[in-house]
């Protein structure tokens, strides 16, 4: 993505910054991916002369990850907010802070199945019911729109194993409920209409956005909703196709730098290798890695760098576990069409994550560009040197070697290393987000937050269903009998947990699964808090994230709300949560 903080001023700068003039490894193909992406955004309007619309594409202007976004919101920098399938009033770290940030918006659109805590924050959040905030003082205009459930729309899931699995639409959603893609598509169409006659140059992108996913009649024939965008057309654009004759591309090797191909995300290329074939629909499983079930990006490679499943000579390390290997006798064609011998093969159908005819004994060329620089043993083709890395010398803000840091809030000093906690962790020393000192006597207890099998995240999909609500009906706190005895806390009775950010009440679950630690001669207690509950729905409880603070990891801003410090006492909380 173009980023205003980097040297991305022109399209050429963008390519040079991201890929370099002499890119080794697979990144030598970067210009093909970039041109095809911008061409997918702007279609005919994107030409070589205007760098395929690069200058009109929005640029990243800062850290837009979740926590910095809410800090910006609190500071009034964000005016409007779309919330689809998310519930930050419960799931957000320092949830009170995040709810107060929501109150600074001009407008917010929430699309979900039920009235989530996020959409109801203005009328019945703890701040409102306890009298700290009046709904009349909240200026945010909240729009709640009913969303379709998964069986009410067509599309594909991509899981964290990179596997795409298509699901069909079984039935129309009820009444006004619509899929998120319907909403996004219709919103885009209306915006394009509003800006169609704008003479302003900065409206060029919205005027020329390629936005054409109307369904074919057969796709909607069996349904009441006739203007649902075509999931196939969206996936086809992500996959990539030739712009002139709209033929899907079977491989990202077919992508071109000259504007003749479009491709939303090159890593998905191959999921629709030809018109009407969607590999995400494949359903042939086996008892191993099932290469013919769904489609794993990229190029159906379930195991990345699978060249490494064969030894230096290209023979499988293990006959039983052979995945891909070099067959010296197999015939294939080189790029010029000449018949040559030897290629990598995968009898199971696994995608080969290597150049198909590069022999194991091939020596990389010292002056080579792209793949030519890599040898037949350089299995790690996305790394500039083609090698596996035991540690990361570049690319991470911290590192290069792992070490032990205490969490940002800890009851003890780091015994391993003189550096207490990650020195480059993202922290926000701002009003509403106070932190505890290390070994703070007011907050001597470790709290660990976690999830349960019975509920999903903030419970929007589980706490409203009686069958699931009754499985884990309300917030509870796991506590050792030792700490319970010390604090006079009784099993199944209320207890209160407190931090500088807030306090919550929970039913105590006294269990020996929780155990006191002896750390440097000092007894340290830990409590466990599953965090699925909120004030809405059939299973309800206090919001555990009222306790956590805004702290994030330096690389990808993953929050640190899984562990921090607190204090506990018997009884209900009283006062504001």
């Amino acid at each position: 993505m173009p980023d205003a903080r980097k040297n991305h001023d022109t399209f050429k700068d963008f390519i040079l910054t991201e890929a370099g003039p002499l890119a080794t490894s697979y990144w030598g193909n970067y210009p093909k991916f970039a041109v095809s992406y911008f061409k997918a955004q702007f279609g005919d309007a994107g030409t070589k002369e205007n760098n395929y619309g690069y200058d009109y594409h929005p640029k990243i202007t800062g850290d837009h990850s979740h926590l910095p976004m809410f800090v910006d919101m609190m500071n009034g920098k964000i005016k409007g907010f779309f919330v689809m399938g998310q519930n930050p009033a419960v799931g957000g770290q320092n949830a009170r802070f995040q709810r107060k940030a929501l109150a600074k918006l001009d407008w917010m659109v929430v699309r979900d199945y039920f009235e989530t805590e996020t959409s109801a924050f203005w009328r019945n959040s703890p701040e409102v019911t306890e009298g700290e905030v009046k709904p009349s003082d909240i200026k945010t205009e909240v729009f709640f729109l009913p969303a379709a459930m998964v069986s009410e729309m067509e599309g594909s899931f991509t899981n964290t194993q990179r596997l795409l699995q298509q699901h069909e639409k079984a039935t129309d959603p009820p009444d006004d409920a619509r899929s998120d893609s319907w909403f996004t598509y219709q919103l885009g169409k209306q915006l394009k209409q509003m800006y169609a006659d704008s003479p302003k140059d900065h409206d060029w992108a919205i005027r020329n956005l390629f936005w054409s996913y109307d369904p074919e009649p057969a796709e909607v024939a069996n349904f009441r909703i006739k203007d649902e965008p075509s999931a196939y057309k969206v996936l086809k654009e992500i996959n990539g196709y030739t712009w002139a004759d709209k033929k899907p591309l079977p491989s990202f090797a077919n992508l071109k730098e000259d504007g003749t191909t479009v491709c939303g995300a090159w890593i998905y290329t191959g999921v629709i290798p030809e018109e009407g074939v969607n590999k995400a629909n494949n359903r042939q499983g086996d008892n191993w890695i099932s290469p013919n079930w769904g489609f794993a990006w990229p190029a159906n490679r379930h195991i990345m760098y699978n060249r490494a499943s064969a030894d230096l000579q290209g023979k499988p390390w293990s006959e039983k576990k052979k995945l891909i290997y070099w067959d010296p006798n197999a015939e294939s064609k080189d790029p010029s069409g000449k018949t040559i011998r030897g290629k990598w093969v995968s009898p199971a159908g696994e995608g080969i994550d290597f150049q198909p005819t590069k022999a194991p004994n091939f020596r990389g060329k010292d002056n080579g560009i792209g793949f030519d620089w890599l040898s037949g043993n350089d299995a790690f083709i996305m790394r500039a040197d083609g090698k596996a890395w035991l540690f990361a010398p570049a690319g991470l803000v911290d590192g290069p070697l792992p070490t032990h840091y205490e969490p940002y809030e800890s009851p003890v000093a780091n015994l391993m290393y003189k550096q207490q906690s990650n020195p480059v962790a993202k922290t926000w020393k701002i009003p509403g987000n106070p932190y505890h000192e290390v070994a703070d006597p007011k907050y001597p207890i470790v709290v660990s937050t976690y999830r349960l099998t019975e509920h999903h995240l903030t419970g929007v999909m589980t706490r409203w269903l009686p069958w699931l609500a009754e499985l884990m009906p309300e917030l509870f706190c796991e506590i050792s009998p030792e700490l319970a005895a010390e604090k006079g806390i009784t099993n199944a009775e209320y207890m209160t947990i407190e931090t500088a950010r807030g306090k919550v009440q929970a039913k105590a679950l006294v269990t020996r699964r929780m155990r006191p630690f002896l750390i440097n001669g000092k007894t340290v207690h830990e409590i466990g808090l599953p965090w699925h509950w909120g004030w809405q729905a059939r299973a309800k409880g206090d919001v555990v994230n009222n306790l956590s603070a805004l702290v994030a990891d330096p690389n990808v801003s993953i929050h640190e709300g899984k562990v921090f410090t607190c204090n506990v006492r018997a009884g209900k909380r009283g006062g504001v949560a």
Partner: protein, 272 residues
């Protein structure tokens, strides 16, 4: 051939998917006693936190046909620690106390060996309830009849397994021919014993005439809340009847004796 289930508790993870799958297939509601109405809410809210590990029902009921037990056992120092999970249901006993007790033959056994309550025949007399040694069968105030697991009667008579077995992500609950399941159970038991789990045992080969739904436990059945040597009340009939007869004879003899004595006394009285 009798169909049944083998519940291998050693690989149960306590996820409760069986409880939910059972309710979904059999169209059972959330247990009414779990939910309360609260002010300002148009819908009832769950309030059934038990404080007993992750157990959420505590027992089987007319709407909870499956119940996952959570057994936490730790010694004081935590050097010995275990957390057992066990998914319980109707065992479809070969000698079914509920069936024997039913005065109107509402409870029947099908050709597949499962024991069912015919809802349109049940008169709600509740005689079956104390006749079940496992506390399985329960009365519903809503319907005025008794309810319990049917072994997914509609599914199994249409070539499907039970809903709970289908939903079980670890294979802890398996459905099939009882004789086949027993072979698997014996194999698994031998494997566990070989690994040093000497207390592992199969529960249900002999209890109540043999259970079509039987269990592999890692410790005594009592640890899992199952009765050792459960007896169906009707099996006490012969002994009870014999005792009754003996008692009747004894009372009769005593009565005769007492009359004789009185007679003798009378004679004495008459005698001056």
């Amino acid at each position: 051939m009798a169909k049944g289930m083998f519940v291998d508790t050693s690989i149960c993870t306590g996820c409760k998917a069986c409880q939910v799958a059972c309710k979904e297939w059999n169209e059972l509601p959330g247990e009414p006693s779990h939910f309360h109405n609260v002010p300002d809410r148009p819908y009832p809210v769950a309030f059934n936190f038990t404080g007993n590990s992750y157990d959420n029902t505590g027992q089987l009921s007319a709407t909870d046909w499956r119940h996952v037990r959570f057994i936490e056992q730790f010694n004081e120092s935590r050097t010995e620690a275990r957390w057992f999970f066990s998914s319980d249901s109707c065992k479809h006993c070969k000698d079914a106390g509920c069936l024997n007790a039913c005065p109107v033959k509402a409870i029947v056994r099908t050709d597949m060996g499962n024991v069912n309550v015919q809802q349109d025949v049940c008169i709600g007399c509740k005689y079956c309830i104390p006749s079940c040694p496992y506390g399985v069968i329960s009365f519903s105030e809503q319907t005025g009849t008794v309810h319990k697991c049917t072994l997914c009667n509609d599914r199994i008579h249409n070539g499907l397994g039970t809903a709970c077995a289908k939903a079980c992500p670890t294979g802890s609950i398996s459905f099939g021919e009882v004789e086949e399941l027993k072979k698997n159970a014996d194999k698994r038991l031998a494997q566990l014993k070989g690994l040093g789990f000497l207390k592992a045992n199969i529960y249900g080969y002999s209890e109540a005439g043999g259970l079509n739904v039987f269990y592999l436990f890692m410790d005594d059945p009592a640890v899992y809340g199952q009765p050792i040597n459960p007896v169906v009340p009707q099996r006490r009939l012969f002994r009870s009847a014999a005792i009754t007869v003996v008692t009747a004879i004894a009372i009769a003899a005593a009565a005769i004796m007492s009359f004789r004595e009185r007679g003798m006394q009378k004679n004495k009285e008459v005698k001056p």
